[in-house]
Symmetry: D2
Amino acid sequence: MESIKSVHIEKNTAILLIHCPDQQGILAAVTEFLNRNKGNIIYLDQHVDREEKLFYMRVEWELDVFAIPREKIAEYFETLVASRFHITFWLHFSDKPPRMAVFVSKLSHCLFDILARYTAGEWDVEIPLIISNHEKLAPVAQQFGIDFEHVPITKENKAEQEQKELQLLKDYKIDFVVLARYMQVLSDDFVKHYPNKIINIHHSFLPAFAGAKPYHAAHARGVKIIGATSHYVTPELDAGPIIAQDVARISHIDTVSSLMRKGRDLEKIILSEAVYKHLERKILVYNNRTVVFN
Amino acid sequence: MESIKSVHIEKNTAILLIHCPDQQGILAAVTEFLNRNKGNIIYLDQHVDREEKLFYMRVEWELDVFAIPREKIAEYFETLVASRFHITFWLHFSDKPPRMAVFVSKLSHCLFDILARYTAGEWDVEIPLIISNHEKLAPVAQQFGIDFEHVPITKENKAEQEQKELQLLKDYKIDFVVLARYMQVLSDDFVKHYPNKIINIHHSFLPAFAGAKPYHAAHARGVKIIGATSHYVTPELDAGPIIAQDVARISHIDTVSSLMRKGRDLEKIILSEAVYKHLERKILVYNNRTVVFN
Amino acid sequence: MESIKSVHIEKNTAILLIHCPDQQGILAAVTEFLNRNKGNIIYLDQHVDREEKLFYMRVEWELDVFAIPREKIAEYFETLVASRFHITFWLHFSDKPPRMAVFVSKLSHCLFDILARYTAGEWDVEIPLIISNHEKLAPVAQQFGIDFEHVPITKENKAEQEQKELQLLKDYKIDFVVLARYMQVLSDDFVKHYPNKIINIHHSFLPAFAGAKPYHAAHARGVKIIGATSHYVTPELDAGPIIAQDVARISHIDTVSSLMRKGRDLEKIILSEAVYKHLERKILVYNNRTVVFN
Amino acid sequence: MESIKSVHIEKNTAILLIHCPDQQGILAAVTEFLNRNKGNIIYLDQHVDREEKLFYMRVEWELDVFAIPREKIAEYFETLVASRFHITFWLHFSDKPPRMAVFVSKLSHCLFDILARYTAGEWDVEIPLIISNHEKLAPVAQQFGIDFEHVPITKENKAEQEQKELQLLKDYKIDFVVLARYMQVLSDDFVKHYPNKIINIHHSFLPAFAGAKPYHAAHARGVKIIGATSHYVTPELDAGPIIAQDVARISHIDTVSSLMRKGRDLEKIILSEAVYKHLERKILVYNNRTVVFN
């Protein structure tokens, strides 16, 4: 298919995500490290959690005239800065888009939203694979030219089928997984393969209405606002670190089906927002909570 | 104290709140009853719950040339309309403002918001009494010229003190009670004296974080939105019919104390919104949920 | 392409939209007309503008056992009710989905949102035609199996090309037009062919920032909230009756390009919301304003 | 009157607000200056406007063991850091609360909101003076024990009366002024005495509906969302740097008077939010726009 992507301006930058115990001088040490080596900072945001005495930082700089070769940056940073401050860090390069797989069941709205952004070139990502426990959305995958794997799950075959899925993710060199209204609970074992690398959308304002049928529960309780929550998946159901939430006002006029209709818009927008933040390397997870930089 | 109240235009209207099983012809029957007797309708809103097959309605009409004398309206409506359709109804007259008591503890923001609106004449209400389990806010009551009763509550004296409170409410001819961040749980017995006539503000987005210290719980869970909920009090804690909810976006930067600061604004606005809707007779309760007319 | 549409439950209902000078007895007359002829009302909403003394109503009822044949309903209603109350009304039948054309330029997000909902069967509509002044989005039309007509517009050929577009709309039996970020101003003549039948999305919170480059203007002004507005098109630019608006919070951190990114989500959601309300026949236009029923 | 203020924990900190052309090394230079002199940073936020190449920063640190005496900090910072980077800066000390005057006319809701927060000890501020062109709110001032000056303004006496007001502000050692629905336009001369030190609330979503009667204008235009805007006053009416904005959804049901009712809540909350940010020294103004730190 002909591309409708906008001409993409290649960025040649490195991104460093950091957390460590808060101490005097960390910020100065990191910025000096970059300045001294001619790394022009184009984004810096930091956050200190005064209660937990933790320091978080995201810094992005241009590599064009940076004095340290890219394959040596991690080593130099470890030796010269990180070891001194007990820093845990992740280093990413903007010219290597991550590879993402989408898991779906029967509902199409989140999948379409993801594929529309992908097709339009909104995101720096590759999406080579869609996995589903149903065949219903195969035509959508085909329409967008993406491989579709049908992996039906039953109580009996779950362990085995998850192995098949893990193998597919490996074969396709997938970096992270997006559950776009995938109606299966992943096993602990599966989740542990992708720590903070599986993004789910739950169709309620967590922690309210965790679990099944949240719109029915919201309607029965008579709430005046509904919500949707995107979060990283952890072994405990609907209890992982929250990335983004959004809400919509409702009233006594709403039925369960109108809640579903209004909820779909929340779900797709807030799932895509989480994917965007993940792709931009703007999320740090610590202690089952997220720091999401602007 | 000199009054800052705006000149108040006296409305001479009657308000009818109705619910009943949904059937053909109810709306026509009610509007005919009013039209035939020269009741000029100035507001009509109705709602049909198609799932539960219930009909809800609020109608307000001018009494000036209404053919039925006000003391006979209930009887005539019962005989001519209500009995036919198994209607449950409440009849109110706009020229008789209800009397409200405010219960407080140590936090002043909701109380100030209520008293500011009262002083400015925003609401059709009388507020003759403030009850508190602490003495701290006595100066605020005094400042606004309202009686303040200090009724300290301990585990041991609770039953007895609640009797004292009930007697005060009776003496002051109180129609309904507003718990403006009152930090005591009312006993079932107390609640049963004022069914759907005690309005509470809970400082979370219910049903999330019911019970004590919701801002601490919200911070610990790492939510990205906080909320506040006003509801009628029922014997089950924080589980009564929800009247209004509001939310505010937060981020990893927020501390428990900044959540409290942001939450105060939500709490006072959404409690006062509930009081306003209650005063306007725009709330119908059924099945632990509310219909809140516009 | 195989369909992913949910099984659609055919509704057999009629919808009546009404406005007229407010008088006693209209509501009773309309509901009696339906009740007497066995029209089971499944939705009724009415609004009285007390200042302008205007009455608005939307009523939907089942046709299954309705005593008046569908082709006679308009005539009977006119004779028996409308003429008496000087009612202007529109009668629609739910089993005849309207036909919609989408006009686009180069931006795909609104188009994808519309086509995703269409493909999923969210809307009761036919979309046989996409018209564009650019060729860029032809692949999207093809992907979804919809005819695409490239009608480039220049200052010189505008009148002639609009004639061509009008002919296309006629050939395709189009009932209403959606401008999904179509970057051409329609002529007065064109607009007059489709009164209250052309829906536009403007990428600002109207009336702020009407005209070109609203995100640049919003950034320059330093606003803290941006918005999007869907409205019916009238000859005066960005001044037609507003259907729906939504907003997003921004801060000093945002650039023009991040405003555009955040704005896209507002635009697509609020344009689709307007299309939904239009399809549901829930919009009444009067005096350049809309009544949008719930 | 007895105090209801919470016990206030005295902070002994300094706050530095900075802007300058963006260059490498600023952030490192500032943090080194503080670290080297034992200034424990408890808050740091910075922002780089990449388009305008401007650097903004707010840093707050503890003075307890800071090596430079407080009266020398400005001089040392100028010499050692600011001059090198062409920095413009403001230095504040947390133990010296600013003095604020409130200007009002007849509407009380913003004034009550401010005085409630003041009385409860929410803000680090002194409010010794209320000025009004009407006598109506004198009882409110008296109720809260604050001096009230009645300065009626007519076309003829405006220049003279503003001189009187300026003298009052001088006598009361006022640092900044809050216009709490003050219905007079200040002269250019007056405004120039308090650059970025007069905070106004405008009852619309600026730049929409600047000038008089914005709720009437919003109703006439048929918008679906209304707003309120707090901003610093500049000589051009309603065109100063925006500090905060908030919005509320409305519908065709709303009348001008219900817009006013809903708007009052927006106005008071968003004006108080601006005052809070101003008191926290979290606002930097540049180029008629604000940087508002979190």
